[in-house]
Symmetry: C2
Subunit: 147 residues, 2 copies
């Protein structure tokens, strides 16, 4: 059994337990890396899976989406990070909602939400709301707020 021996073994039986723990830590790290890698590649892999599910070639989707096929290839492989506009075009080409791609890309939350500006809307400013919207705890002209 290839037990890792990167530290001094404390005893005959302890070395096996340490090796087992190290092995578990390695698995956890590996899973974390997989999760991080998945997040980075999520949108690209998702686009590819949608495209393949629709049985469409990369070039066909690129054309119907109005993006270049090399760029779509790079996006799918996670080499580039497309803008929202490109995602919108790809969604149109895939005939899915742009929001679905936004969510996968991490620029939109999953839950539908009314896009309302709050709480410091300029239309509803009143003296009491103004004090609520104060940004500096100190006086407006005070504080070391050099940019």
């Amino acid at each position: 059994m290839s037990a890792p021996n990167d530290r001094e073994p404390r005893g005959d039986g302890t070395a096996e337990r340490v090796g087992h723990a190290v092995e578990q830590v390695g698995q956890v790290v590996e899973q974390a890396g997989y999760a991080v890698g998945q997040a980075v590649d999520d949108i690209g892999a998702y686009i590819r899976s949608q495209r393949e599910g629709a049985q469409v070639s990369l070039r066909q989707l690129a054309r119907s989406a109005g993006v270049s096929n090399p760029y779509l290839s790079q996006i799918e492989r996670g080499l580039r990070k497309p803008s929202a506009e490109i995602l919108q075009q790809i969604a149109k080409g895939l005939r899915i909602s742009a929001e679905a791609l936004y969510v996968k890309a991490g620029i939109l939350d999953e839950k539908p939400r009314a896009p309302s500006p709050m709480p410091c809307s300029p239309i509803r400013i009143s003296p009491s709301a103004r004090s609520r919207c104060s940004w500096t705890s100190t006086s407006p002209s005070g504080g070391r707020t050099t940019a």
Copy 2:
């Protein structure tokens, strides 16, 4: 009265009427230009109005949003077009929803919508759905589809 005379006057009274019509056309074109210009500057002007409504300086918002203040200035003046990520950060700084800025920037629709991929979801592929998802009216290997 400075009537525009870019065409031959047909008669003594017709010249005035032509000039009046040209003046009206000019106004319509001017309004259209204003609408186009407004659309381009919409997100920048909107961010500025929100910021001023909250009585926050450009630098204060830039810092709380985590973007550079020159860049925020450029965005407000319509000189640059920020990415969705930057819009997200600005929304956070303004304490408004990112969706509100996405809508103003034209990358999200006004109406809340569930981000569901449809109709060619790979999970729901079935023979009938597959034929519905066909992308080429001709046979898959036919057609001039050179990219």
